[in-house]
């Protein structure tokens, strides 16, 4: 899959939701803990060598599971391979909880669900669709089921169909 690293590098320089130096272990067996500057920007987790300006790598945080790992660490794994874990060590339980909370809310999918929820609730209370004011009430991403076509130019909302 081709992508322009520079797009991600530029993103990694944007203001972060959270940033800290953490211990990090890759998913491979026998990987050792390394100190990394870890930075959460939108739905990406970047990790840098502590003395470098460009990130070593990035993790897209969609369809991921964030779990606490004793004593004060957490892991990130992905739905297609749940045993493959990126592990992080925090300096305190508090820091750990802060990261877990932030990472769980970091996905675009989480925001989409939140938006649909609020839209639905507002409609129940006010009888009005709050997205109409934005002119985006017909967009597929904001529909209740999330899988329905909402405009003639749009497919059923997943690859492979028009």
């Amino acid at each position: 899959m081709r992508y322009n690293e520079k797009e991600l590098q530029a993103l990694s320089r944007q203001p972060a939701e959270l940033a800290a130096e953490l211990g990090m272990r890759g998913p491979k067996k026998g990987s050792v803990v390394k100190r990394r500057l870890v930075k959460l920007v939108v739905n990406f987790l970047f990790y840098f060598r502590t003395d470098e300006a460009e990130p070593v790598g990035a993790l897209l945080l969609e369809h991921c599971k964030v779990a606490q790992e004793e004593p004060s660490g957490f892991s990130i794994s992905f739905v297609e391979d749940p045993e493959r874990k990126y592990r992080f060590e925090c300096h305190s339980e508090e820091q750990c909880q802060e990261w877990i909370g932030a990472l769980r809310r970091a996905s675009y999918e989480f925001m989409r669900r939140s938006l649909i929820f609020y839209r639905n609730e507002i409609q129940k209370v006010t009888g009005k669709d709050p997205l109409e004011q934005f002119g985006i009430s017909e967009e597929a991403r904001f529909q209740l089921s999330g899988l329905q076509p909402s405009s003639p130019s749009l497919g059923p909302g997943f690859p492979g169909r028009a």
């Binding site: 899959m1 081709r2 992508y3 322009n4 520079k6 797009e7 991600l8 590098q9 530029a10 993103l11 944007q14 990406f44 460009e54 990130p55 070593v56 790598g57 990035a58 897209l60 969609e62 369809h63 992905f78 739905v79 297609e80 391979d81 809310r105 675009y108 989480f110 925001m111 989409r112 669900r113 939140s114 929820f117 609020y118 839209r119 639905n120 609730e121 507002i122 409609q123 129940k124 209370v125 006010t126 669709d129 934005f134 985006i136 967009e139 597929a140 991403r141 529909q143 209740l144 089921s145 999330g146 329905q148 909402s150 405009s151 130019s153 749009l154 997943f158 690859p159 169909r161 028009a162």
Partner: protein
């Protein structure tokens, strides 16, 4: 893993940035909703000249959130490319061939090459530009925060409205038990069993009308805001039946409007009414 990368005329050996590509591809192919899909012509991809020339390569594009994927075809099992739609603007572009419905994704950061794409017609071009312009995480976050605050306001004003209406109604009846209703909507309490139709009121006040929406109630958005089962009516009042009729009517109004809207976008779900 090291890659040989050309920078100007000098080749520099650098370590390629890592990305969890397998997970990214899995997300691209998953059934999470796509925000826009369609065929677009593209330049600069594999097998095409690096600068715009000719009609470009036709690929199937899928926009999910702030990620734009391309596939060789609609049935493609692996994404060809990924564009991360952050820190960019999308605008109509001069096509290499005139009137080719082209648009460009330009990045604010210096040195990041723009992407040139072309749709099949003006409607598709407009739809893509609109969709891509609103694809950023920041835009979504703004909308969510705005709705969050709107919901808070709406519930507060509804609570105040009900309180004053309730007081107006109770003043016509004999004074009863002290006002048990707390405007703190976190403390939901359901109606007692002898009130019918309990289901109707419960539904209007709390749960979304049961269309498989339980999943996000577990996953956080419900926790972000207010609890479930809000019901400002206390069963203790002797004027309860009056209140209930009034309350029930309002709920039916809201529910009707909501159902209309819901049925408008999901015609196959008619008849799934609750009593």
């Amino acid at each position: 893993m090291e890659t040989l990368r050309a920078s100007g005329h000098t080749a520099i050996l650098t370590e390629a940035m890592k990305l969890n590509e397998r997970s990214v591809a899995h997300y691209a192919l998953s059934d999470s909703p796509a925000d826009h899909v369609g065929f677009l012509r593209t330049w600069g991809g594999p097998g095409t000249p690096p600068t715009p020339s000719g009609t470009g390569r036709r690929c199937w594009f899928v926009l999910k959130g702030n990620l734009l994927f391309s596939f060789e075809s609609r049935e493609g099992r692996a994404p060809l490319s990924l564009v991360v739609l952050e820190g960019c603007t999308v605008e109509l572009a001069e096509a290499p061939v005139p009137e080719e419905f082209a648009f460009a994704i330009r990045f604010d950061a210096p040195g990041v090459r723009p992407h040139l794409l072309a749709a099949d017609g003006p409607a598709a071009q407009e739809a893509w530009v609109k969709a891509l312009s609103r694809a950023s995480f920041g835009y979504m976050r703004l909308v969510v925060r705005e709705l969050e605050s709107q919901l808070r306001d709406a519930r507060q004003s509804l609570a105040l409205h009900r309180r004053s209406s309730w007081k107006a109604v109770t003043s016509r009846c004999k004074p009863q038990a002290p006002d048990r209703w707390s405007p703190g909507l976190e403390n939901g309490h359901t109606l007692s069993r002898d009130c019918s139709p309990t289901g109707l009121v419960e539904e209007g006040g709390s749960r979304p009308a049961g269309r498989g929406l339980a999943e996000w109630e577990l996953q956080g958005p419900a926790n972000l805001l207010l609890g479930r089962g809000q019901s400002p009516v206390s069963p203790e009042t002797s004027c309860f039946s009056t209140l209930h009729d009034w309350y029930g009517q309002e709920i039916m109004e809201l529910r009707r409007a909501w159902l209309q809207r819901a049925q408008g976008s999901r015609p196959e779900r008619e008849g799934q009414d609750r009593p």
